[in-house]
């Protein structure tokens, strides 16, 4: 039962991503062409409201359901890994038209060729893990 809430959040997330068309390859293409405000509106409003939530959580020291103080993990300080990693991700994002969340959602919409893309993404993650210590971070 403790996993039910995560299942429900996932279902909600999947529905929102389809109904917002954020899982559409065309919408990602249009975003990178700066030809529509749609994706910027989605990400922008999510970030603005998300920032308000995070600020509120820190301000009123709200606890999570496990009774612990909420702490969002800090990311490692670096520039090179984010520029390189981010750019490589961006190349794939614009080609696939989907990032990791939408890949699963699209599989659910019945696009079975997405299994190839997901398999390749797992392989990409594996190769990163193997090469990790040789890459500049």
């Amino acid at each position: 039962m403790k996993y039910l809430k995560f299942l429900l959040v996932g279902i909600f997330f999947g529905i929102v991503l389809v109904k917002s068309e954020a899982v559409s390859w065309y919408r990602i293409y249009e975003m990178f062409k700066f030809q529509s405000f749609h994706m910027y509106g989605i990400i922008g409003s999510a970030v603005i409201l998300g920032a308000l939530f995070v600020w509120g959580i820190k301000k009123i020291k709200i606890k999570n359901i496990e009774g612990n103080r909420i702490h969002l993990p800090e990311k490692q300080k670096s520039v090179i890994r984010y520029i390189w990693g981010g750019s490589i991700f961006g190349l794939g994002w614009a080609l696939a038209g989907a990032c990791p969340g939408p890949m699963y959602v699209l599989l659910g919409t019945g696009v079975y060729s997405m299994l190839i893309v997901i398999g390749a993404a797992i392989l990409g993650t594996f190769v990163y893990g193997v090469l990790k210590d040789k890459l500049p971070h």
Binding site: F6, L7, V9, G10, I11, F12, G14, L17, K19, S20, S24, W25, Y26, R27, Y29, M31, K33, Q35, S36, G41, I42, S45, A46, V47, L49, G50, F53, V54, N64, E66, K75, I83, W84, G85, G86, S87, F89, G90, L91, G92, W93, A94, G97, C99, G101, M103, Y104, L106, L107, G108, T109, V111, V117, A121, I122, G124, T125, G129, V130, L135
Partner: protein, 187 residues
């Protein structure tokens, strides 16, 4: 009911995505979809090849459950909550794509030119899917997060690393969209 079946505007969808972030944080977790790729590697025994995968994947079962939900959500939305309307893309975008040889632009979520099942039997079609997935999987772990972890969660937490990562996402995305896609798709 009609509103549910139509595509939802950005000012409804964006705040609902922020709600996903809030719920996961209140549940004592974080919002990060690409971590599941690492978890799947660990489950498959990748710990034998790199310490990076030596983690107890059982601690990540909650996130795999979110993935399962996302798949179900995609099914529900496409089967029961869609009116199959054409995506209201900028006409200029449609024209640009038609010039690259895309047909039926916006009539479904994904272009058949990339995702048609028959494409996995062609070298070009299969190569596009594999390269795209590989770049996403490699890049997201190198950058330490994807759209959910960096662009939504990281920016919401005002973290400089996430801002740099998002700039990276756009460097790669703009290069692909403006310079590489026109080389791959020629009408």
């Amino acid at each position: 009911m009609e509103f549910f079946l139509q595509p939802w505007p950005w000012y409804v969808s964006g705040p609902l995505i922020a709600l996903v972030l809030l719920l996961l944080v209140l549940f004592g977790k974080t919002f990060g979809m690409s971590s599941n790729l690492r978890t799947l590697c660990s489950m498959g025994g990748a710990g034998k090849y790199a310490d990076f995968f030596k983690l107890d994947w059982r601690t990540q079962r909650w996130n795999l459950t979110v993935v399962l939900g996302a798949i179900i959500g995609g099914f529900i939305a496409s089967q029961f909550l869609s009116d199959n309307s054409t995506i209201a893309l900028n006409p200029k975008t449609v024209l640009d794509l038609q010039e690259m040889g895309f047909s039926h632009v916006g009539e479904s979520l994904l272009p058949g030119e990339i995702y048609a099942w028959e494409n996995i039997a062609t070298v070009k079609g299969l190569a596009i899917m594999i390269i795209a997935g590989f770049l996403v999987g490699f890049g997201t772990r190198y950058a330490g997060g994807c759209t959910s972890g960096h662009a939504i969660t990281g920016l919401s937490n005002l973290q400089r690393p996430s801002l740099i990562a998002v700039i990276g996402f756009f460097i790669g995305g703009l290069i692909m969209t403006h310079f590489i896609l026109p080389l791959i798709f020629v009408a």
